[in-house]
């Protein structure tokens, strides 16, 4: 059973590549304690200079190295190396040693049975595809994040002839299940006096069943 989430997490990251480090930085910024296990000595020196996590030099899929990171005291073990088999081994070893939540990075279409073995899957290629789609379809709508469930955070540009163009937020009726979070420049949170200007981008949270309606209002 995963532990209840406490205020600050202790997280072990297997693999100190780009993904492992970026994850560590984000976690550290949010106040969590991170331990990275990385096998390449040169890479370890680089990571140590960043000073965002405790670094253990060694192959995380070797139990003797993983144990040094103290999984039994940790809330989450995230195996983020670029090798799927290694990641699976790390998660399995971590589960034997502890009751930490396990998160595993995969590189191919997920094996259906993974969910029985690990608590969370990360599929960078799928995330990458979304980013690529956003870049290709430059104008209009881009997905920022799936919040699981059926809520999506999207960034939408108000089209010139859209119904809401040039209106204040208290003059328009957005469907229930949608919320303007912030304008694209990131200066203001949405409020009754937010002006929806054509050509500007806004970040919205939308439930999937009203996404169509919202797109209609913003894109025309």
């Amino acid at each position: 059973m995963p532990k209840p989430v406490t205020q600050d997490l202790r997280v072990i990251i297997g693999g100190g590549g780009e993904m492992g480090v970026r994850t560590a930085e984000l976690l550290s910024d949010r106040g969590h304690d991170v331990v990275i296990v990385e096998s390449d000595p040169d890479r370890c020196n680089e990571l140590s200079e960043k000073y965002v996590a405790t670094i253990i030099e060694g192959d995380a899929s070797r139990p003797e190295k993983l144990r040094q990171a103290q999984p039994e005291r940790s809330d989450v073990v995230a195996a983020l190396t670029d090798d799927e088999t290694t990641n699976f081994a790390i998660c399995m070893a971590a589960q034997r040693m502890s009751d930490a939540r396990t998160v595993m990075r995969i590189n191919e279409t997920p094996d259906e049975l993974y969910e029985e073995f690990v608590d969370g899957l990360v599929f960078p290629e799928r995330l990458g595809a979304r980013a690529a789609t956003n870049e290709i379809e430059v104008s209009g709508v881009r997905t920022i994040e799936d919040i699981g469930g059926n809520v999506e955070v999207v960034e939408v540009e108000v089209a010139d002839d859209a119904p809401v163009a040039g209106k204040r937020l208290d003059e328009v009726r957005l469907p229930r299940g949608s919320l303007i979070i912030v304008d694209y420049h990131g200066n203001r949170l949405g409020g009754p006096d937010t002006l929806l200007e054509a050509g500007h981008r806004y970040v919205l949270a939308v439930e999937s069943n009203v996404a169509d309606e919202v797109m209609n209002l913003f894109r025309g």
């Binding site: 406490t6 140590s48 030099e57 589960q95």
Partner: protein, 460 residues
Amino acid sequence: MSHSGGREPSVSLSLLDATMVGIGAMIGAGIFVLTGLAVDISGPAALVAFALNGGVTTFTALSYAELASAIPRNGGGYAYVREVFSAPVAFVMGWTRWFTYMIAGSLYALGFASNFLEWGHIYGITLPGQPVLYALGAVVALVALNGLSTEASGRGETVITIVKIAILAVFVVFGLTATRVNEFDPLFTKGPLSLLPAMGLTFIAFQGYDLIATVTEEVENPQVNIPRAILLSVLVTVVVYLFVVFVAIGTLGAEELAGAGETAIAQAAEGFMPSFPIIGTGASLIAFGAVFSTISALNAVVIGSSRVAFAMGRERQLPARLGRFHHRYGTPLVAIMASAVVMLIAVVVVPIRIVGNLASLFSLLGFIIVNYALIRLRRRQPDLQRPFEVPFYPVTPILGIVCNALLGLFIDPFTWILAIGWLLFGGVVYLALSRRGDIGPSGPPEIQEPEPIQTTDTDD
């Protein structure tokens, strides 16, 4: 701090700034408040006591430097111990660190009060009321200041610390011309063994460097600069202390210095300082330095103590409320208030010498745990990246443990009784809180017994 909502790239402290954070906490109250009391115990040999304390502290400072370079955590010594030991040991460490800061706070508040009244005396003003009232006032004022707004930046601390060092430098430069070396002959007027209690009493003066570890995330190139800042600040502090104590004993003489108690340095200055324009006598400059230093040190420990309580709250070792920011003021208000209550009680109830001894004893206990944490971490995590390594391992940390323990043993029994009382109280609090489910994960973590791994049967 990362808890306050992300790294601020603009806030980056240089090696100098980080070093000054440590020096600022160490040079200040201790030198003004404790010199007279130490001389009272061991005579002119108090100078030796300060020197030896510097040596003892260096062992632990090296351990701190290694831990700080390897474990990027806010929270200082408590955070490192939390990383290495089980929850109850970390609780003891946090509980004693917290108490050390609070007790040091009351020591500085009392030192402030005495020196403030002395400052008035120099100008011929006799201020009304008991010193205790001024001490209480200082605590209340600083707690209010820290509770209602976020703390001043490290750069402000740098300026304040340089002013402190400058005032002491003036004291030393003028004093050296007036120093009579024969004051140190005989050196051991109270016997060589009197060194140990004097060392125990003054040890607290050298414990401020762990504040450097609490600002790690704002320091440039931290994994190199933090160990350096820790060692540099200890070195500079020891040198400054030795000069100041040398001059104080050499000019005023051990007898009179002992009689002056917590205003000893200011009184020594009266003997040889020339007059300055505006400020008046040189002695008033030193008295001002003492007032200024005790206040800034008090401010440092108010922040330090609330940070420890805050860290313990975040780790669920004390009620979570201590680990939260106040919704309106954006400060760890509950942690600050909790610390303030103990400081106020200590100011009123405990005599200054006991206060000094208690703070030193808890410092020593904490430092023993830190040295042991280093040894344990080396054993359990041999592949941990350690950009700075303690030289002559394991001799250095073992010497640290032995010396700290030895000094602790020479602190008087009454202080030990108070200390044990506080630890027992901590034990009761810990048990009560964990029984109520206020702290710790809900229920002990269930760790599965490792199942025997199926291998091909080679035994049969």
